[in-house]
């Protein structure tokens, strides 16, 4: 059942690098990450690649396989033919550190810029009451494993380095939407989304949703509703007032 696969892996660092060809044994049921680990153990002990859970839960092993952003641990070798050359390259939207490892600090910086959760006080008995139906919308976004594949594929991030300053990317626009839909959060997040994190730059191509390994409908369920709320509020005079005085939820 084993066979020899042809793997082409990008190796190098910030100064440059290139694709290298390898022939590696593949056994039944293995994923691309297994094959890279076999490379490390037998041919290239210093091949740099991130991983942790090997089960699609931690979002560490993001890379591009045949040009598509994927999790290495969830991409089965069985999805390729045995004679196909499989090309593995680092995420292209972020600077390379070494081999398949990129510098994803952009994402951590954006996360830090989002105004923190600020809840209403607890109820008299010390609890927070929320209905399941109200928590389900933001819960969908909290499934995010921060693999940053959506950030990698979004053309606003990918194609224009300059945009990174003013655009948080789908993952973090979704985080703002999540807080906006959070039953306990009290801040008005529409201005921040629009003016500081570039919600308006998203032109709803849905590429982000397509690559999300968690199947989160980023565009339909987070970004579009958030855009609608921004637009609604702009035209309703009463929320103008509320916004100026209290910055409460509109």
């Amino acid at each position: 059942m084993s066979y020899e696969a042809n793997l082409r892996v990008w190796r190098g660092d910030a100064a440059g690098g290139g694709l290298q060809d390898f022939t590696v044994t593949v056994n039944e049921g293995e994923v691309v990450l297994d094959i890279l680990h076999r490379l490390q153990a037998t041919q290239t002990p210093d091949l740099a690649v991130r991983w942790n859970c090997k089960a699609g839960k931690c979002g560490s092993c993001s890379a591009e396989i045949n040009g598509r952003p994927r999790l290495l641990c969830l991409t089965r070798m069985g999805t390729f033919t045995e004679d196909e050359v499989i090309t593995v390259t680092p995420l292209r939207a972020f600077p390379v550190m070494r081999d398949l490892v990129t510098d994803v600090s952009f994402n951590y910086e954006k996360a830090a810029q989002i105004p923190a959760f600020s809840p209403r006080p607890r109820e008299a008995d010390g609890s927070h009451r929320m209905q399941q139906i109200d928590v389900e919308r933001p819960q969908e976004f909290r499934k995010c494993i921060e693999c940053f594949l959506c950030q990698d594929v979004c053309h606003v991030v990918r194609d224009h380095e300059d945009n990174k300053k003013s655009f948080a990317g789908p993952r973090f626009l979704m985080r703002i939407a999540e807080l906006d839909m959070h039953p306990l959060d009290q801040l008005d997040r529409k201005d921040v989304a629009q003016e500081e994190h570039g919600l308006g730059m998203c032109n709803i191509t849905k590429c982000c949703s397509e690559v999300c390994p968690e199947g989160i409908k980023i565009t339909d369920n987070a970004l579009i509703p958030m855009k609608e709320r921004v637009v609604d509020r702009k035209y309703v005079p009463s929320t103008w007032l509320g916004r100026t005085i209290g910055r409460r939820k509109g």
Partner: protein, 598 residues
């Protein structure tokens, strides 16, 4: 040392899982200048993988639940070897620790009246686990991560600590490590260090644990002069994936059983009914009918034997497979498909559904899963004071999986996440208080140089083996000889092999350069794995009884004498020394809880 980056803090927390982040948040709130160091990116620690939930007797689903019941379940699950005071504090404080997560943004599943919902898990008398589908660990770590970021706590990501630094009087003065990205070195000076480094599973071949679980904290603590308690107790989770081989060991959450899944052997029998130990007979259903009724009426029925504590279930599966009644790939069947409808399964167990679909091409709503035991958790760990999480070395604290005592000989599911929060917070408080009254001694320059030389040594040696080979052999040894069932001759054999591996590890060679070099990282993790494996094997040889996560084929039952003894490990030169210590005795008012229900 020109490429040594230096910083100065009050509290340095090593580890950014649930325990580390909770400790850091607390230390920061107590006014301490706090830093967190972690081997992976922030948010990727093991805690992210936890599935089932956080055990806390909030009484949202069953009013009858309370800390005493939780305390009792925890102690009985641990076969009474737990440190009673840790188990008590844990049961008492867990509900508050869960509630405060909501103040920081966590969104748990709800009960019909809007409170935090709670689910059933093995060994817990009542439905008690706060949860979010089957991705509770993700919710926990993301919430703590976001709070850590909101508070502006310094985080050193992808940075591995290789040595704790101590002053002349033996107290903590800081930590030394390297950045994975650059291979450059880092020294953090601090009077308080909190170890929150998690577990040891990477010393075993079949494990649910990630590459991070190399027992660093256990090993760092030993090297700094601290003690480990009861290292022989390693939990083999009964249900890991067994097929295909590349995913062998990946966890299948206990919630599958909590939500109605049952275990069957090759002839379709629910074999767990044949393995109910006397100790749990009174509280376990005798018939399938009673077991099935329990899911909807817990007051009048007893729990299904599939939900016995993990050590019981893991041993039963092991016996079925050995008796030739296993599944095609050497496990048994875990069946929820024939018992619950597809929508329910997808809703309650979304990530299990996903995991089997993606990794094994199995649709768990249509067919049974194949499962078998996998090395999952270490109950043994750094010996700490229950109130403060302080280790034997002044200024050193330990919380979470790296700490010992809380879970006795076997941990109940869901009790780890709550443990992280309860003792993470306590460690943070105590570490900050210690720092407020102590200033860190200057870092010992000689020790820094020594640590740097030790880290670089594998590059300088030529002609040695590669670390991957040695690691694979260690995993094989631990799996085969110090696994779920142990004997004197096998464990002795393991110790001999570990000695040989220690010698080989000292001569290994690393290729390439210092920047993001996984071979080098493994080479530096290996001594930790070897040291911890030796501690486990020595303790396993010492304890001549079977209890919880330690089963000796040559001493099949629990012994009254060993019921009162903790096995303590210390470092002795290049090896491990053992001693015995009496188990702390429970005060009468707590002991009564067990008499009432016996």
């Amino acid at each position: 040392m020109t490429d040594l980056e230096r910083h100065d803090y009050d509290v340095v927390v090593i580890g950014a899982g649930g325990a580390g982040l909770r400790a850091a948040i607390e230390a920061h709130e107590q006014g301490a200048r706090t830093a967190v160091v972690c081997k992976s990116l922030l948010g990727k620690a093991h805690t992210v993988m936890a599935e089932g939930g956080i055990a806390a007797a909030m009484g949202n689903v069953y009013k009858e639940d309370g800390w005493k019941v939780h305390f009792r379940d925890t102690m009985r699950g641990g076969k009474m070897l737990n440190h009673w005071r840790m188990a008590q504090l844990h049961a008492q404080e867990a509900p508050d620790r869960v509630r405060e997560l909501e103040d920081w943004g966590a969104l748990f599943d709800r009960t019909p009246d809007g409170l935090i919902s709670q689910r059933d898990f093995g060994g817990h008398r009542f439905a008690r686990l706060a949860h979010v589908g089957d991705r509770t660990g993700l919710e926990l770590i993301r919430t703590l991560q976001q709070q850590t970021v909101a508070l502006g706590i310094d985080v050193y990501m992808e940075c591995t600590v290789t040595k704790l630094l101590t002053a002349a009087d033996g107290s903590i003065s800081g930590a030394f490590g390297y950045f994975r990205e650059s291979g450059r070195f880092l020294a953090l000076q601090a009077p308080s260090v909190v170890l929150a480094t998690g577990g040891i599973g990477k010393s075993y071949k079949v494990t649910s644990n990630s590459w991070e679980y190399t027992g660093d904290g256990h090993s760092l603590a030993l090297a700094a002069g601290a003690t480990l308690v009861n290292m022989e107790f390693v939990q083999f989770h009964p249900t890991g994936m067994v097929w295909p081989p590349s995913v062998r060991g990946i966890l299948v959450t206990e919630s599958v059983r909590g939500d109605g899944g049952v275990l069957k052997n090759s002839s379709g029998n629910r074999f767990m009914f044949d393995y109910i130990p006397d100790y749990f007979r009174k509280e376990t259903a005798e018939t399938e009918e009673e077991a099935d009724r329990w899911y909807t009426d817990k007051t009048n029925n007893r729990r299904p034997p599939e939900l016995l504590p993990r050590d019981e279930v893991a041993r039963a599966i092991n016996s079925e497979v050995k008796a030739g009644r296993g599944s095609p790939h050497g496990g048994v069947f875990l069946d929820i498909a024939s018992r619950r409808d597809a929508d329910y399964i997808r809703k309650r167990l979304p990530s299990m559904y996903h995991q089997f679909k993606e990794l094994a091409e199995v649709d768990i709503t249509a067919e049974a899963m194949e499962v078998g035991p996998t090395c999952h958790y270490v109950m043994g760990g750094v010996e700490v004071d229950p109130e403060t999480a302080a280790a034997a070395v002044p200024g050193l604290y330990a919380a979470g999986e790296v700490a010992g005592g809380m879970h006795g000989s076997n941990r109940l599911g869901g009790n780890s996440l709550s443990d992280l929060l309860v003792f993470g917070r306590r460690a943070g408080t105590a570490a900050a208080a210690h720092a407020a009254t102590t200033s860190a001694a200057a870092l010992p320059e000689a020790a820094l140089q020594e640590a740097e030389a030790a880290a670089l040594a594998p590059f300088q040696r030529g002609g040695g083996e590669n670390p991957y080979t040695i690691h694979a052999e260690l995993q094989e040894t631990m799996n085969e000889l110090v696994g779920i069932i142990r004997t004197e001759s096998e464990v002795s054999q393991a110790l001999k092999q570990i000695e040989e591996l220690k010698v080989r590890a000292k001569a290994l060679t690393v290729q390439g350069e210092r920047r993001y070099n996984p071979g080098w990282h493994l080479a530096l993790d290996l001594p930790n794995m070897l040291r911890v494996s030796e501690a486990i094997a020595r303790a396993a040889l010492e304890r001549q009884e079977s209890r919880g996560g330690h089963t000796r084929d040559d001493f099949p039952g629990p012994s009254d004498e060993w019921a009162k003894i903790n096995v303590i490990c210390t470092q002795d030169g290049d090896g491990i020394a053992l001693s015995r210590k009496p188990l702390p005795v429970m005060p009468p008012e707590l002991a009564e809880i067990f008499e009432e229900s016996a």
